[in-house]
């Protein structure tokens, strides 16, 4: 799911994501064209318009399909992208009905297409490019470096990027998982992806209350050779109240911070209490690792 230079990108719902696509083009991303399933939308930004992903892939491989279309249109767009042969799919749109997500993920799984989101801000590799909806022009926030940032929350992820860029560690890749209660790329899978990414030496995970992404990532973190720091926001939130983020809800006694931290503790993850300490914790872990091999692994 990591963007590489030269990846070809196709866009669904260009009119809804025009500003983001413009920024992508400015940053040198190869946006090949727009797919419009049910409209006679004229070309924007000088991009060619296709009527299906099949038309797009007939002219060359599509490495990333990105969906900005409104929630009711996301399922059709995603199925077109998956069946049309796109390799990866990023769904930026938030508030996609969960049954639609189950449907499109089942199709994606069959066609071996990786899906990021829904509600994902996308993927960014500093100095290389990005796909999605990120403020990639803020170079002070995305300095090339060694830490992969995987975040469930956009605002926390951006804050972590700023802290790590400011500290000198820098960012190797940023992945925003999205805010839907049902997600394509899981935290666990994202961590694995980052580990195999060449520039990455350490991973920072930004979790929030609700769901079970953090708990499910514990087994993966146990297997990791590189340091994985985890910060989880949202202590003591009232039960049954959805707090901003769609997936952030504690119910039936599940999704609370204590449970997440307890699941992560035995995995060897570096639990971060205060976000401001994140760079220092990773720096320390990296320097102790370079002095000698870790006991585990």
């Amino acid at each position: 799911m990591i963007y590489e230079r030269g990846h070809r990108v196709a866009v669904y719902g260009l009119q809804h994501g025009e500003a983001h696509v413009r920024l992508m083009v400015e940053r040198g991303v190869d946006v090949a064209g727009a797919v419009e399933l049910a409209s006679y939308e004229r070309a924007r930004l000088g991009l060619p318009v296709w009527h299906s992903m099949r038309e797009a892939t007939a002219q060359g491989p599509v490495d990333f399909a990105i969906i900005y279309a409104p929630a009711p249109a996301v399922r059709s767009a995603a199925l077109d992208a998956i069946e049309g042969g796109a390799r990866r799919l990023v769904i930026v749109t938030s508030r996609v009905p969960q049954h639609d997500v189950l449907h499109l993920l089942a199709a994606a799984h069959e066609c071996k297409v990786e899906v990021l989101g829904p509600g994902s801000p996308g993927v960014l590799v500093p100095g290389v490019g990005f796909v999605g909806a990120l403020p990639a022009d803020m170079e002070a926030m995305f300095k090339p470096g060694v830490v992969a940032v995987v975040s469930r929350s956009l605002s926390l992820g951006m804050l972590a990027c700023q802290l790590l860029s400011g500290s000198g560690l820098g960012i190797s890749v940023f992945i925003g998982l999205g805010d839907n209660p049902v997600l394509g790329l899981s935290l666990a899978r994202a961590i694995e992806t980052c580990e195999s990414h060449e520039a990455t030496l350490a991973i920072a995970c930004l979790g929030i209350v609700g769901g079970a992404q953090e708990e499910n990532a514990a087994a993966t973190i146990t297997r990791m050779r590189m340091p994985v720091a985890v910060y989880i926001a949202g202590n003591k939130v009232p039960e049954e109240r959805r707090i901003g983020h769609l997936g952030a809800i504690v119910r039936d006694g599940l999704g609370g911070i204590a449970r997440k931290r307890a699941a992560l503790k035995p995995s060897g993850a570096l639990l971060v209490d205060r976000l401001g300490d994140l760079p220092e914790i990773l720096e320390r872990a990296l320097s102790s690792q370079s002095r000698g091999p870790r006991r585990r692994g």
Binding site: H99, L105, A133, M141, S153, L159, V182, R241, L275
Partner: protein, 381 residues
Amino acid sequence: MNFEEPAIKQRLKELGILVPEGEVATHPLEAVRIARRLGRSVVKAQFAGIRRRTFEGIGFAPDAETAGRHAARLCGLETPHGRVERLLVEKWVESKRELYLAIATCPTRQTAMLMFCAAGGRALEGALREDGAAMLRIPIDIRMPFDRLPVLRGLARTKGVAGLDLEAIADTLHRLYQAYFENDCELIEIDPLGVTAEGDLVALNCRMRVDPAAAFRKPGLTLKAVPQSRTPLERRAHQLGLDFIELGGSIGLMANGSGLALATMDMIRQQGGEPANFLDIGFDGRSDPRSALDLVKAQANVRSIVCNLFGTVTGADRMVQGLAAAMAGDRMRPLVAIVQGRGEVAAAHSLRGQPGIHVCDTIEAGVERAIALAGSEATPL
């Protein structure tokens, strides 16, 4: 979106699942009238969406008089789940066994999951504690029509099913799945499903949670949902499209982005303060900061305010426009603005020196300042 039992049972009944006859009462006298008609009855307090443990809020009544007594006890009762406003008075169905049935969205497996346990109601937790495998789980591909065969095979393998009519249970699960599918559910659960002496399967208690993101295609259903219980201030915020929860501490809080707001809330607690509220003005900070600030200030317990703005797509300098004006005339409750990211210099410049506003550039420093201000400068209102 959560629903009360009568609304769910109506849906189940339409799909051919048996439910006890019953009616809603809001007053003990009404309960007596209904119980007189039904004979032996059960009086149940209605809490939408809550998993009922044991017999919490339930009264069994052999006659109408007892039903009235239960109703009088339950009506208006304050419980951890809120005040009891409505009662469901139902015919008392004698069951010889109780089962657990549910269809739920499983985010981990990214699929709809059918669940069945041969022990339901009070016996469920004990059965699962004894043997986690007592719960049958079958993933269902939401793109396909319901397939009975794997369900029947699964049921036959499940612990404790001897003596049960598996065909009938598979049939009920099929109908339950239909309800899950047609109503865009996150969860639909019958707990317990009673097996009567005659072998009928009756849904005694049930829960249903519908995906709020699907509300746009289920307008009729949305109308029947039980609204989230909100304080008057929370209702006002909801109308403004803001995520706002009152918490009762003394440090008011607003931030752009839910993760940022949660992290700020945690920081307040870590430094020994208590947040008065949670307020997310949206990551892009497009909503008017003044109306957000008004909400925070409207809480009487607030003694200082932390405003955490992180400029990315929208610059912090644009988000703070209007903050100074909104603070003018309120020097009792100082505001600590934490501005970072895009436009931070311009934002700090425009706020610095304004009466009642302090500017900080890290969350740690800002929160510390706000807690100190809440303790010293402010006087109780």
